[in-house]
Assembly symmetry: C2
C-alpha cells in the first residue's frame, strides 16, 4: 500500500507539502498541488484516518462557561453537556470564569470570535448586556433562575430541606454557612435554610464565606468551632465546605453525628467516600448538564421548544453525618 | 448616547441587521451595510463591549484532550493549562477521551478541523499515527514518558516511595491495587511498588482494576477485604480508589491506620479533607498543566526549546492513614 512518502517521492516534493495538500492548510503552489494530486491518483494512495476525516463535515463549536472546574460539582455538569453535544456532533470551547465578570466577558467574546453556534453559561448575571446583545442561542446553567432559557436546581427548597432534616434529627444550635453573596444558588439555599430555622423559632448562627475553595474552607471550619463552640448542627454551603467542617470536628475530638451533625450540598462523588460519609442535598449535575445541552440543541436547530426553563428538584441523601430517626 | 436601536431606526433596518454588520457574521446586502455604516457615523454610535471586542485580535485556539475531568486530578491539570494559555491569549477547545482510542481520534480531528494552532494531549499512545502526521506542535501531558515534547511525573518512583513508606511504617501483608493496564502511569506506579515489596522479600497481593471510576472503586474495596482479609497495608492506584478503601475499612470496623494503613496517589484536593486525612503521593498537577502550556507556547511561537520533556518528581505526603515513625 502506498504511503505518504511514496506520494512525496513520486511528486518530487516533501512529505510536509503532501500533508498541506491533504489538509488544505498552508500555502501550496497550484502546480505543486496538481503534481501531488496526480501522484495520489497514480499510486491509488489512501490518506490516513486523520487526513481522511478532514473531508468529513466539520463539527460546530459551542461555548461552555463554568465558574471553576476544580470544584468537583462542575466537571459533572460539563460531562453532561459534552456527552449530549457529542451525540449531535457539536464540540466545546470552554473557560472558567472564576465568578469574575471580566473573565466571563472575555470568554464570551472568544466564543463569538471563534464562531460558536451557541453558548451555555453558568453566569450570576443573565441580564448582562453582553448576553442581551447575543445573536446566537444561549442557555443559562445552574447559576440562575432566569426566565430566559435556563436549567437549574431548586436551591431554596434545598436549603429548607437541609434545615428540616437537621432539626428533625435533633440539632438545636445550628450554624448555617453562607456561601458567596454574589452567587445566586448559594444565596437561595442559605435563605431557604434560614427561613425554616426561623419558622421553628430556633437560635442559629451564620458564618459568612466568600468562596467554595478547598484551602479557604479549612480556615472557615476552624472559625466556625472557635466562634460558635456550642454548634450541634452545621448546614454547609456545599460539600467541599462540609468536608472541611467534618475534618475540623474530627480534629477537635467531636463525634459526628453524635455531637455535631453536618449536611452538605451538591452530592459530589467524593461525598459518599468520606468517612463518615456525608449527608447532603443532591443536585442532579450530570443530568442538568445534559438537559442544558438538549435545550440549546433544540434552540440552535430551530425546533419547537416545549419549555424554555427547567428547574430540577433536589433531595436529601441520608448518610452518616446525620443521626437516624424512625 | 446613541444606542443600537437608534442606529437601526435611522438606517431603516432591524436591530438584528445592525448587529450582523457589527459582528460581520450572517448575510447583509451591500446597500444595507452602507446605510448602517452611515447611521453609525452620523450618530457617532459606539458599539457595546462585546461588539467592540470583535475588532480585537482573535484569540487562537489550542486543543486539550484529557482522559476524564470527573476525576478530580484532571481539572487541576486543565486549570494549569488554561491559566497559562490565557496569559498569552490562547483559548482551549477540550474533550474527554475516556481512555478510548476512537474518542481520542475524533477529538484530535475536531481540533484540526477547527484550526487549532497546537494540541496538548493526555494520551496513552503518543506513537499513534494521528500524532505522527500532525503538522502543528503537540505536547503530551501526564499519560506518557515519550521522548517527544511531554510533561509527566515520575510514576515509577512514586510507586517505590509508597511501598517504602508503608513498609517503614510496619505493614507486613500489603495489597497493591493495580490501575488500568492500558494507562501508562498506572502501570509505572504499580511496577515501582512491586519492585520494592519484592526487594524486601515481603508477601503481597495484587488486586487488578480497570478504571479510576468512583462507583467501581467501592466494589473493588469490598473485593479487597473479602479476598485478602489479612491485608494490613493498601497501596491504592489513586486517591479515589484509596478513599473507597478507607470507607470500606471503616464499614468493616477496621481501625485506620492501626489495623490497616492506606496510601493513595495524586494528592487531589479532597484527600486532605477525608477523615482521617489520606496519606498519598503528591503529583504537582496544576504546575504540570502550566508547564505543558509553557512548552507548547514555546513550540508554537518558534522559540528555542531548552528541554523538550520535563519529568516532575513526586513526594510522599504524610497524613493520618499511615502510622507515625521516628
Amino acid at each position: 500500500m502506498a504511503t505518504i512518502k511514496d506520494v512525496a517521492g513520486r511528486a518530487g516534493v516533501s512529505v510536509a507539502t503532501v500533508s498541506r495538500v491533504l489538509n488544505g492548510n498552508g500555502y501550496v503552489h497550484e502546480d505543486t498541488r496538481q503534481k501531488v494530486e496526480e501522484a495520489i491518483r497514480a499510486l491509488n494512495y489512501t490518506p490516513n484516518e486523520v487526513a481522511r476525516s478532514l473531508y468529513k463535515k466539520k463539527s460546530k463549536l459551542v461555548g461552555l462557561l463554568l465558574p471553576d472546574i476544580t470544584n468537583p460539582y462542575f466537571p459533572q455538569l460539563a460531562r453532561g453537556v459534552e456527552d449530549r453535544m457529542q451525540e449531535n456532533d457539536y464540540r466545546l470551547i470552554f473557560g472558567n470564569s472564576d465568578e469574575n465578570r471580566e473573565k466571563e466577558m472575555d470568554y464570551i467574546q472568544t466564543f463569538i470570535q471563534n464562531h460558536v453556534v451557541g453558548i451555555i453559561s453558568s453566569t450570576n448575571d443573565p441580564g448582562a448586556e453582553m448576553y442581551a446583545e447575543l445573536r446566537i442561542p444561549i442557555v443559562f446553567l445552574d447559576r440562575t433562575t432566569s426566565d430566559r432559557p435556563s436549567v437549574y436546581a431548586d436551591g431554596r427548597e434545598g436549603g429548607r430541606l437541609a434545615a428540616r432534616e437537621i432539626i428533625k434529627r435533633g440539632s438545636k444550635r445550628i450554624t448555617i454557612i453562607q456561601g458567596p453573596a454574589h452567587v445566586g444558588p448559594a444565596m437561595d439555599r442559605y435563605e431557604g435554610a434560614v427561613e425554616v430555622v426561623r419558622e421553628r423559632g430556633l437560635p442559629y448562627d451564620v458564618l459568612k464565606t466568600t468562596s467554595f475553595s478547598f484551602t479557604e474552607a479549612e480556615g472557615w471550619a476552624q472559625d466556625l468551632f472557635r466562634l460558635y463552640p456550642d454548634t450541634d448542627g452545621v448546614i454547609a454551603s456545599n460539600d467541599i465546605v462540609a468536608s472541611a467542617v467534618l475534618q475540623e470536628a474530627f480534629r477537635l475530638g467531636k463525634r459526628v453525628p453524635e455531637d455535631v451533625q453536618i449536611i452538605g450540598f451538591d452530592d459530589i462523588p467524593l461525598s459518599r467516600l468520606l468517612a463518615p460519609s456525608l449527608s447532603t442535598i443532591h443536585q442532579p449535575a450530570y443530568e442538568m448538564g445534559r438537559e442544558a445541552a438538549e435545550l440549546l440543541i433544540q434552540l440552535m436547530e430551530g425546533q419547537h421548544i416545549e419549555r424554555k426553563s427547567k428547574q430540577y428538584p433536589v433531595h436529601f441523601i441520608e448518610r452518616q453525618t446525620t443521626r437516624k430517626v424512625d
